[in-house]
């Protein structure tokens, strides 16, 4: 009994000592002050020095939180427990949040730097006139492949994946829309297709792909491809850029049948407290020099036209990540298909996964 009580006393004492320590640390960070801005972003998706720069320039203290999926982020914002001033959802999430009245319209008058965004990226279907969102990063979905592991072969289309030589050589991302979209695109259908016959057709075609698929994975796909665990991966372009940094034998291509064009965007949730600060932050990130610095750190493609002048030449001219925007008709943005259809896509994807054994 003695040792028990002693043990518990130690535990409680240590805990309270640590609590004290943390409150002191928080104070040095200035987190227990007034003028704050709460940002909700993907993990490791901003150059940390930019946050410090922003704090210095504006005197606003930043509280930074991270999430790892749009859905989780939306659930958290919906519940309202924390008040986020800026969030960075993907385009289909922006559409959803719009419909669910979770966003505040953005006051463009407060964003003089908005003019630097490439007009190709403004006024897109998921947010006409950019009433609620400002583009942050963008990219495509495509194939990253290791030519040397394929005997020098070059891939150019989705249908190349069904080649018998690629048996057990492909990694897919764990995303229903990406995989179903790939199936639909390979049949020359739109990846927003809701026609049941087309979906079943895509499902059947995907079932024939299973012998070629090594695994269906998440973020670890980057590590796996860089380590040459597989020869081909279906990934987002931002991931591809990182993988190719790791392993220069890899190349990235957007399949010619068409693919997905994605955007991550800055929005202001309805429950925001520091709306003025939010606008200041968005404007800050739109500054070309800041956008360029961010793009260099994160490695994804920036929608900021002026920022591209500050990027290293090889990056800005890399057509794989900055394709000619006038030639992107077969790149589609995901439409919000509605809850029921989305559930259907996921069911089909789940069946596809179960097939794969």
């Amino acid at each position: 009994m003695k040792s028990l009580t002693r043990f518990f006393i130690i535990i409680f004492v240590v805990s309270f000592a640590l609590l004290f320590l943390v409150s002191r640390l928080n104070a040095t960070q200035g987190l227990s002050g007034g003028n704050t801005l709460t940002i909700y972003n993907w993990g490791d998706y901003i150059d940390p020095t930019l946050i410090k720069k922003f704090e210095k320039e504006t005197g606003i203290k930043v509280i930074y939180q991270t999430f790892d999926s749009n859905e989780a982020m939306m659930t958290k914002i919906d519940q309202g427990g924390t008040t986020f001033d800026v969030a960075v959802p993907s385009e289909y999430a922006v559409d959803k949040m719009k419909k669910d009245h979770m966003l505040i319209p953005i006051d463009k008058a407060k964003l003089p730097n908005l003019k630097y965004i490439d007009p190709h990226f403004m006024n897109l279907s998921f947010d006409p006139n950019n009433k609620y969102s400002i583009p942050y990063f963008w990219g495509t979905v495509g194939l990253v492949y290791n030519s040397s592991m394929l005997g020098g072969k070059k891939l150019t289309s989705w249908n190349d994946l069904w080649d018998k030589d690629l048996r057990n050589k492909i990694l897919l991302v764990d995303g229903a829309r990406e995989v179903m979209g790939m199936g639909l695109n390979s049949l020359h259908y739109s990846l927003n297709d809701t026609n049941e016959a087309h979906l079943q057709q895509a499902q059947r075609k995907l079932a024939t792909l299973t012998p070629n698929i090594k695994a269906i994975v998440g973020d670890e796909i980057k590590m796996l491809l860089a380590n040459e665990e597989a020869a081909v991966g279906v990934v987002w372009s931002g991931d591809a850029a990182e993988i190719m940094d790791e392993n220069d034998k890899l190349d990235y291509v957007v399949p010619k049948e068409g693919s997905n064009l994605w955007f991550d965007n800055m929005v202001i949730p309805k429950t925001a407290k520091n709306i003025d600060g939010a606008h200041k932050f968005i404007n800050f990130m739109l500054d070309p020099k800041n956008a360029a610095k961010n793009a260099e750190y994160v490695g994804y493609s920036t929608p900021n036209k002026k920022a591209m002048e500050y990027l290293p030449k090889e990056v800005a001219n890399d057509k794989r990540f900055y394709p000619d925007l006038n030639k992107t008709e077969n790149l589609e943005v995901y439409k919000n298909l509605g809850k029921k259809m989305l559930a259907h896509y996921n069911e089909l994807f789940l069946e596809f996964k179960m097939h794969h054994k």
Binding site: M1, S3, L4, F7, F8, I11, F12, V14, S15, L18, L19, L21, V22, L25, N26, T28, Q29, L31, T38, W42, G43, D44, Y45, I63, Y64, Q65, T66, F67, D68, A72, T75, K76, Q79, G80, G81, T82, G218, D219, E220, K222, M223, A226, N227, E242, E246, V298
Partner: protein
């Protein structure tokens, strides 16, 4: 007899090697000058420097430890009460119902626990942050404590209690001088299991946290999309080494102070 000793030792060594293989792998790469856990490029201490400069990360680590310690301690107390409660219930039906209810949280996927707790806290009006995370961790750790403590209670022969009572012990004395010492191993087991559950948890914490409060698991999972930097390896190595020193140190201090444990009532 000697062969048996050798065999058992070899077996244990193998188990330990397997258990620690991934840990050493992580530690090894925390010194990698390359960016990933593949292809050791050269030795560097840069990642460790990065850890100490990242105040936000340090705050997160300390928060994680606080939550783990407090939730483990409180859930152990609650869990022991629970185990006592279950063992004292007479009717088989009630006992089994309580046990089933107890285990619901263990079987439920974390997402569901997280989501339902979130709804609960929102309804009750508890602000998300330290409090909500602490309550949640206590909540899901109690069942495992009960599971660890209950077998010990069942092993205990009731004649011990009867004997104590015959000798004039009060309710409190029976508890503190007979029951608790007997089940102490179970209590410690429960405590450490609760600690484990808390340190490792991601989903539940993610759902119920807010206002800038975060734990290490949430931070690590959030970074997965961008690729986990080796500074996390460095951080884990530091935490691990610190814990080992703590554990070994505490153990040998205890050894020196206590006499060896017998199977029976403590004096």
């Amino acid at each position: 007899m000697k062969n048996k000793k050798a065999f058992s030792n070899i077996y244990l060594v193998i188990i330990f090697i397997i258990l620690y293989a991934p840990i050493f792998y992580l530690m090894f790469y925390s010194f990698n000058s390359g960016e990933t856990m593949h292809g050791f490029k050269g030795f560097t201490l840069d990642w460790y420097k990065e850890v100490f400069q990242d105040t936000r990360l340090i705050i997160i680590v300390i928060n994680t430890i606080i939550i783990a310690l407090l939730s483990a301690a409180i859930s152990t107390i609650l869990g022991v009460a629970g185990a006592l409660a279950i063992s004292y219930v007479r009717r088989r039906q009630t006992k089994n119902t309580l046990l089933t209810l107890n285990n619901v949280l263990i079987v439920s996927p974390d997402v569901i626990i997280g989501a339902s707790f979130l709804i609960l806290f929102t309804i009750v009006g508890i602000k998300l942050g330290f409090t909500s995370v602490l309550l949640s961790h206590i909540a899901f750790s109690v069942p495992i404590v009960v599971i660890m403590v209950l077998p010990k209670l069942q092993e205990m022969s009731s004649s011990l209690i009867d004997a104590a009572r015959d000798l004039g012990a009060s309710q409190w004395q029976v508890l503190t001088k007979v029951i608790l010492p007997f089940i102490t191993p179970g209590i410690f087991a429960g405590f450490f299991m609760a600690l484990t559950y808390s340190l490792d948890d991601f989903s539940v914490t993610f759902f119920v946290t807010g206002n800038g409060f975060s734990t290490l698991s949430v931070e690590i999972y959030s970074r997965a999309r961008q690729g986990i930097s080796l500074s996390i390896n460095a951080l884990s190595t530091l935490i691990f080494l610190f814990t080992i020193i703590l554990v070994i140190g505490y153990y040998f201090i205890n050894q020196r102070n206590n006499r060896p444990n017998g199977t029976g009532v403590k004096k």
